[in-house]
């Protein structure tokens, strides 16, 4: 049974999910930063 590929797939999938979520947080942070700048400029 070549189970080692399933082991690697599980570990890679775990960090892929965490990475995607952290990426989405970073995107939301940069969007918020942009909104703050726009809000400051609007004054």
């Amino acid at each position: 049974m070549n189970s080692i590929k399933f082991l690697y797939a599980a570990y890679i999938a775990t960090w892929l999910i965490h990475g995607l979520y952290l990426g989405s947080l970073a995107r939301r942070y940069s969007r918020l930063r942009r909104e703050m700048k726009d809000s400051d400029k609007g004054r």
Partner: protein
């Protein structure tokens, strides 16, 4: 606090790296399953972390509802105290003790019941009104991420061991239902703009949290295809495996804490910004700039630790 984050992030990264090394290299190879059993070191800690986060979501939602209605708060406080007292005493009554599954100690039940009450009051003490709702949405979102990992790594373990990716086993089905409940919670938060949304979401969260003990105890009370509990419940585990499992759980818990920290800050700042924008839109140019900006997050940077 601002300085603590990078230090904690580095420490957590080191701990995660070390825990992964232990899981992949140092942990003994399981005799029947072979190397694929090492998925367990990511699967189980992710599940425990998800349960913990859903529990935090439950407590924050309960406190949020209680805070919204002072008379209800008194009732809820007394119900929580009653649960703690009954939970601490009942497991020691011989008739009740007989009903407990093998490996579930009365002291564990009593400690859990008391801890629920203590955590409930701690959440109420350190988070107030809006921050309770922010804590709830933060815990739910990060919890869904960890629960997704459970649902992905589980089938990757099952395929080589059981020969199938998925079966409608009680534990698996209830975990999928749990994930769906919290995804629907997040969808509700994302797409509903009503002022009642936080309350509706809190009610959904309380009912959703009822699924957590069902998932956890499903393998204690029912015969399922899912492996039996390795800690308690009559199960056993090699002490070296247990040590590495707990180390991975600690690493994932620290990681979850940091991710929650980031998500919490983001939510607070988003809400502050939108409130400030709404205020400015309402008052227009009639508002003196200094008063409009007092306490607003406009001058804060997203990495800052201004409120909360």
């Amino acid at each position: 606090m601002k300085r603590a984050f990078p230090i904690l992030a580095v420490l957590t990264a080191l701990l995660l790296g070390y825990a992964t090394y232990q899981a992949l290299v140092v942990a003994p190879t399981e005799r029947t399953m072979g190397d694929v059993q090492r998925i367990f070191y990511y699967h189980v800690p992710s599940a425990w972390t998800a349960f913990l986060l859903f529990f935090v979501n439950f407590l924050a939602s309960l406190q949020y509802l209680a805070t919204a209605n002072p008379s209800a708060k008194r009732v809820i406080n007394w119900v929580v105290i009653a649960i703690a007292v009954v939970g601490a005493v009942a497991p020691y009554i011989p008739q009740v003790q007989k009903q407990l599954p093998e490996g579930l100690y009365p002291s564990s039940v009593a400690t859990t019941a008391v801890m629920i009450a203590v955590l409930y009051f701690l959440v109420g003490k350190f988070f107030i009104e809006r921050s309770l709702d922010v804590l709830a949405v933060t815990a739910a979102e990060v919890g869904v991420i960890f629960c997704s990992i459970v649902l992905v790594t589980g089938p990757l373990w099952a395929r080589p061991v059981w020969g199938i990716w998925w079966t409608w086993d009680l534990r698996l089905t209830l975990t999928l239902v749990l994930w769906l409940i919290y995804v629907s919670y997040l969808v509700l938060r994302r797409f509903s703009d009503s002022a009642q949304t936080p309350k509706l979401a809190a009610v959904l969260a309380i009912f959703g949290a009822l699924d957590v003990p069902l998932v956890y105890f499903s393998i204690w009370f029912f015969r399922t295809q899912h492996p039996q509990p390795v800690i308690g419940g009559g199960g056993s585990i090699d002490p070296r495996m247990l040590h590495i499992l707990l180390m991975n759980w600690l690493a994932f818990s620290c990681f979850a804490f940091l991710v929650c920290w980031l998500r919490y800050r983001l939510e607070i700042m988003q809400r502050d910004l939108h409130e400030a924008q709404a205020l400015e839109a309402l008052l227009g140019d009639g508002l003196p700039p200094s008063s409009a900006r007092t306490g607003s997050p406009i001058n804060r940077t997203p990495s800052g630790t201004g409120t909360a």
